[in-house]
């Protein structure tokens, strides 16, 4: 029965009872070497020995004799402590197997002061040999059980990580994700109070707070994110924040992903079990998994946002392209050329050429504040007005004032349009124009052989309602005259020293190439700008040029 039992407790108990019953021994005890401590302790004691079960008897380093099968108490002088010498136990049987020294069975002298006869001692010796095997077996079994349990726990941890990573992969909703993390942490680690600290939009925030009271200051949050070990216990921290102490946070775990950091703070476990190294490793894995998945949701969001913006830009670009005149009219005696070099973002540049009837030709260029769809819608608005108003042959200055009032009413106060437009009478070559806050077009006056700027007009469209009338300029055009209209994408194109291309360069190019076609002049400007800023222009480049040919 002893041999079959796998419970050390049972073996110890029975061995003691058999010995005491058989030999009429008043006191007996069993000392064993602890599985984990390696030190001799009291595994069982019966009768008034004064020894307590579980009591440790010497340090793990103490060397104990096991050569003989039987020792007397005096042989343990200076080896075993005083309580053993006071216990009344006198005869010590070595409990040993061929490979292990397990401990001692100790008995007091026989009741009635008689000595034990040899036969009885022999009997005990044999019994001890059998018990030693049983104990050794039972220890083996309990070691195996412990190893098995540890293995099961590891498997459970792995299952948990697998479960949660599978779940996280399928999720894009952050709050759902945090919930799963919360439950997993509570279930697996048996912890009730914890927090998860990470940066959101550059501000450290507690994205999970479970069972905590009070708040953690911004400085403290920053400080926690700078912790320099993978995990630490609060007791090792210099001057921990009150929030951690008040909430009995026990340890901090650090997570990192690229340059980003996060910190998980946890209280003690509900069952008071300490955290082992393996627990910390699990927490680091679990924390990192959660941290990565949360980061992933942010990346996903910004990608969606980017895609949405790109789509918007495509729409804006499409609107803008339909507003440009195509093909350009070719009314005699004019030679007209225009270009729009779009930047990466869709800007608010617009130009138009319309023949309202046989005699009148309108040219317009505009630059709208803002980008994307709002700018292109405003542009469509402006284009519609021009197309409706131009056949009416209204007074330029009055019409500009009306357009301004409509734009002012239709747009928020931070949206403006710089606008230049003009009307050419193709019969007498009179050019009337109005400049509403636009970069003055450059005019090559062939008769005078010099450059002039067309700035007569008034303020930007859309800034204020029209309370001062726009002025209009009039030029009598002649053969060889060139008017070059442009937007600030050209005049403000920057080189690497942050110098602007400038209106003077535009004027100089026109002055030196005025004898060429409008297309060639335009190409000179585009080439020079590109050389100047090494292709690094940030805004749309728009130009509209006309040259008066022989009539």
């Amino acid at each position: 029965m002893l041999i079959e039992s796998h419970d050390p407790e049972f073996v110890v108990n029975n061995l003691l009872l058999i010995v005491m019953g058989k030999l009429l021994t008043p006191k007996a005890a069993i000392f064993l070497t602890g599985e984990q401590s390696g030190a001799l302790y009291v595994a069982g004691s019966k009768g008034r020995t004064g020894l307590k079960k579980g009591q440790q008897l010497c340090s793990p380093r103490t060397s104990l004799p096991f050569e003989k099968s039987l020792y007397r108490l005096h042989e343990f002088e200076n080896v075993l402590p005083e309580p053993v010498h006071q216990s009344g136990l006198d005869i010590f049987f070595s409990i040993r197997t061929s490979s292990e020294h397990l401990g001692y069975l100790c008995i007091a002298p026989k009741t009635g002061k008689g000595n034990y006869p040899e036969t009885e001692l022999d009997f005990i010796e044999n019994l001890v040999i059998i018990s030693a095997v049983a104990l050794s077996n039972s220890f083996l079994v309990s070691r195996l059980k412990a190893a098995n349990r540890e293995l099961d726990q590891k498997v459970q941890e792995l299952n948990t990580l697998f479960d949660i990573s599978r779940e996280f992969n399928a999720m894009v909703d952050r709050s759902q994700m945090l919930n799963v993390f919360r439950f997993t942490l509570m279930g697996q680690m048996f912890v009730r109070r914890f927090f998860f600290l990470m940066k959101l939009e550059d501000r450290p925030q507690l994205i999970i707070q479970q069972g905590l009271k009070g708040t953690l200051g911004m400085e403290d949050k920053e400080k926690l994110l700078e912790m320099d070990t993978e995990y630490m216990e609060i007791s090792d921290m210099d001057d921990p924040p009150d929030f951690l102490k008040d909430n009995q946070i026990f340890a901090l775990i650090r997570m990192s992903f690229q340059d980003e950091r996060a910190v998980l703070g946890i209280s003690k476990r509900a069952n008071q079990q300490p955290y082992t190294l393996s627990d910390y490793n699990f927490l680091i894995s679990l924390g990192n998994l959660a941290f990565l998945s949360i980061q992933k949701t942010f990346l996903l969001e910004s990608r969606i946002e980017k895609e949405r913006m790109e789509e918007e830009l495509t729409i804006a670009r499409t609107i803008q392209n339909t507003l440009f005149p195509s093909p350009l009219p070719k009314p005699k005696p004019l030679d007209i050329s225009a270009t729009n070099v779009p930047s990466r973002q869709v800007g608010g540049d617009y130009y138009d050429v319309l023949c309202s009837d046989e005699r009148n030709l309108y040219l317009a260029i505009a630059d709208l504040t803002g980008k994307g769809i709002p700018a292109s819608l405003l542009m469509a608005n402006l284009q519609a007005m021009l197309h409706v108003l131009s056949p009416l042959q209204l007074d330029m200055s009055e019409t500009t004032g009306k357009i301004n009032d409509i734009i002012f009413k239709n747009t928020p106060s931070d949206k403006f349009i710089s606008f230049f437009w003009g009307r050419i009478d193709l019969e007498n070559l009179e050019f009337q124009y109005c400049n509403a806050g636009h970069n003055p077009p450059v005019y090559w006056n062939a008769k005078k052989q010099k450059i002039e700027l067309l700035s007569t007009g008034g303020m930007l469209l859309g800034a204020l309602s029209t309370f001062v009338a726009y002025e209009q300029g009039t030029i009598e055009l002649g053969e060889g005259d060139v008017v070059l209209m442009f937007t600030d994408g050209i005049s403000e194109a920057m080189n690497e020293n942050e110098e602007e291309f400038g209106e003077e360069r535009i004027a100089d190019i026109l002055a030196s190439h005025h004898h060429e076609t409008s297309q060639q002049i335009q190409q000179h400007i585009v080439d020079e700008v590109k050389t100047f800023c090494k292709g690094n222009y940030g805004d749309d480049m728009t130009m509209l040029i006309f040259k008066v040919g022989p009539s």
Partner: protein, 118 residues
């Protein structure tokens, strides 16, 4: 995808939740919702019957952790009954038996609730 289900019923003054299928990270929020509904309705004596539960993950266990303290402060409790061996092993591995009433039989748990309130 998941086969998890909760049914609730009442026995004397005790609310009983019958779980079936698999309780994991995916289905844990369903159980949470059920328990918070009971708490909001002022029903603090809860038995969770595991007879038909085939599998539980750590996240599933976490739900019980999340509410046990609150329920006990309110004078109630969650008792867990009729677990299959595989399910009990998970509770055991993670140290739950020290903190929770885990019982073999639902009737026994009902009796314990009634004795406590008597």
């Amino acid at each position: 995808m998941s086969n998890f289900d909760i049914r609730s019923r009442q026995k004397e003054s005790v609310e009983i939740l019958d779980l079936s299928g698999e309780l994991d990270a995916h289905t844990a929020p369903d159980l949470e919702k059920e328990i918070t509904t009971l708490i909001d309705a002022g029903k603090y004596n809860i038995i969770v019957n595991f007879t038909s539960l085939e599998y539980i993950s750590s996240a599933g266990l976490g739900v019980f952790m999340a509410y046990i303290e609150e329920l006990r402060e309110l004078g109630g409790d969650i008792k867990l009954t009729n677990m299959k061996e595989g399910v009990y092993n998970v509770f055991d591995l993670l140290g739950f038996p020290t903190l929770y009433d885990i019982m073999d039989d639902e009737a026994e748990a009902v009796k314990k609730f009634n004795n406590a309130s008597a």
